[in-house]
């Protein structure tokens, strides 16, 4: 009699399989349910507060009424500023580490430093920004200082995802390109960077997303409690969504709950849109990938 004819054993394996499937399913559900619950609750509580006026007008009556336009605009400006500083620098550094740097002790130390920097608490970046940009470079509490602080926080993420994305491009492409008389830079520019771009973009978007929703780094460097007017220069401070949420949920007595939930909902929407873009970029690239 072979093992296959031993029905009892087969049956045991079958039930094990069924049990394993069920357990994994339940565990996945347990992970997803709380998130789903939170999102649905916020939508339920906040959706009635979302109106065109809410999104496009200035706050009134001590922020208890009116809109949150300055906060939305502020977050967009800070994210844009962060993008302008962090992305070119981060991608350049990633290219250098992945394609040019020799594998020496110094390179390895830099790589470890970058990975460690990605794990530094955001409030530390906030204090660094305060000391470095606000005070030392005399930028004051401003959009510029806050953008640069966010950029410093985002840099390690952009650098390491760029490095990762470029390393995943098959080495054969480099060898072939060089063998056809291309220089190293031509190889990077025409092939490696192009193939690695979807991975880089995904990292950039996720990095920016974190920058957009963080409160601590902008707390001391650029965020204002309340401003009656919109910023007119990069050296002005600005209101921003995450800090605004903190302010209206803890610092303003008699704040209507709907306004609080609606503001949170707007921030969540921000995150959702950026995540969707990242997912879209990645899946499109995967479908088009030729290796």
């Amino acid at each position: 009699m072979t093992a296959f004819e031993d029905q009892s054993q087969l049956k045991g394996a079958h039930w094990q399989e069924r049990f394993g499937d069920a357990a994994l399913w339940v565990l996945s559900l347990i992970t997803v349910l709380p998130i789903l619950g939170i999102v649905i609750y916020i939508i339920y509580k906040g959706a009635p507060g979302i109106t065109w006026e809410f999104l496009t007008s200035m706050p009134t009556n001590g922020m208890r009424e009116g809109g949150i336009f300055p906060a939305i605009l502020g977050t967009l400006l800070l994210t844009l500023g962060c993008f302008l500083f962090a992305v070119p620098l981060g991608i350049a550094a990633g290219i250098y580490i992945a394609e040019y740097a020799k594998d020496t002790a110094a390179t390895r130390a830099i790589r470890i430093a970058i990975i460690s920097l990605a794990g530094v608490p955001s409030v530390v970046y906030g204090l660094f920004g305060l000391g470095m940009f606000v005070v030392f470079f005399k930028m004051g509490v401003s959009i510029l200082a806050a953008s640069m602080t966010l950029a410093i926080m985002t840099l390690p993420v952009v650098i390491s995802t760029t490095e990762e994305a470029l390393r995943s491009v098959p080495n054969a492409f480099r060898v072939v390109s060089i063998s056809l008389g291309a220089t190293r830079w031509q190889t990077v520019w025409r092939i490696i960077l192009k193939e690695g771009m979807p991975g880089i973009l995904t990292g950039v978007i996720l990095g920016l997303e974190r920058a957009a929703v963080e409160t601590a780094p902008i707390l001391f460097t650029g965020a204002a409690f309340y401003l009656p007017t919109l910023p007119t220069s990069p050296l002005d401070p600005t209101m921003a969504l995450p800090y605004h949420i903190y302010v209206i949920s803890t610092q303003v007595p008699g704040m209507p709950l709907t306004v609080q939930y609606a503001t949170v909902l707007v921030l969540l929407f921000f995150v959702l849109v950026m995540n969707l873009i990242a997912t879209f970029v990645r899946s499109r690239a995967r479908a088009r990938r030729q290796w």
Partner: protein
């Protein structure tokens, strides 16, 4: 006439991998120069030294010289990009670049600074015709190169080298990943190409070596054991080790 003269050439890698010791070899112009022998003998290493692809690897020490028309290829001041256009290489696996069929052929010219679309397309057609690929892919020129068959891809890789109008073409086991029909096509192709180009071929077995060789060199564990004209090495080798390998006693 020797187009390339290798003199007392030795190379060692930093990681102690495959190396070559005291190689003296002349590569004959307008002929198929076959380098053969068991794996790890240093044939690929020699090819990669000739067009300086070795620069990408961690080389510990290089000795001797490789003269290409009286110019030492090992000179650190040599313009390696220009060298690689004059001495092209085809690898053992078809390795199309992640772009279209045409772009693969014109890539080398584009990085060399040719931007005239009309000229590039002209060169692409000529190169694809040279490898008898044009009739098979003329309606798929803008498809990704990965979409054509493996045999076609390997001819594309050859066309890519031909587009640069090199003087020497090196092929490192170009048919090892191909079926017999595709292999035969590549072999026929090389026989016609040798009229115009100098060919250095590392075949993937002894049979192919003996079929293709105008000149043959037998490599064993980093040393050049024996060289000979035509079929001599396969019929009447002088060295016992060559004979044993050719007769299939090892390797």
């Amino acid at each position: 006439m020797d187009i390339i003269q290798i003199e007392d050439f030795s190379i060692t890698y930093a990681d102690g991998a495959e190396s070559l010791r005291g190689i003296n070899l002349g590569i004959k112009e307008h002929a198929i120069n076959v380098l053969f022998g068991p794996a790890g003998g240093g044939k690929s290493t020699l090819l990669r030294a000739i067009n300086r692809l070795n620069d990408l690897t961690d080389v510990k020490e290089v000795k001797g010289s490789i003269l290409f028309k009286k110019e030492n290829l090992l000179d650190s001041k040599l313009d390696v990009t220009r060298l690689r256009r004059r001495i092209g290489i085809v690898f053992s696996r078809p390795m199309p670049l992640p772009m279209t069929v045409t772009q693969n052929v014109t890539y080398g010219l584009e990085v060399a600074g040719e931007h005239d679309r009309g000229k590039l397309n002209e060169v692409a057609e000529k190169a694809l015709r040279q490898v008898f690929l044009w009739d098979e892919v003329y309606d798929r020129l803008n498809d990704p190169a990965i979409a054509i068959s493996g045999g076609q891809q390997q001819r594309l890789c050859l066309a890519r080298v031909l587009a640069l109008e090199p003087e020497v073409i090196m092929l490192d086991e170009p048919t090892s990943a191909l079926d017999p029909v595709s292999t035969a096509r590549i072999e026929d192709l090389l026989q016609t190409l040798k009229e115009k180009y100098t060919i250095i071929l590392v075949p993937h077995n002894v049979q192919q070596s003996s079929r293709m060789a105008d000149y043959a060199a037998f490599f064993l564990q980093g040393e050049l054991i024996e060289t000979g004209e035509g079929k001599k090495l396969f019929i009447a080798p002088e060295d016992k080790r060559t004979q044993d390998y050719v007769e299939g006693r090892f390797g």
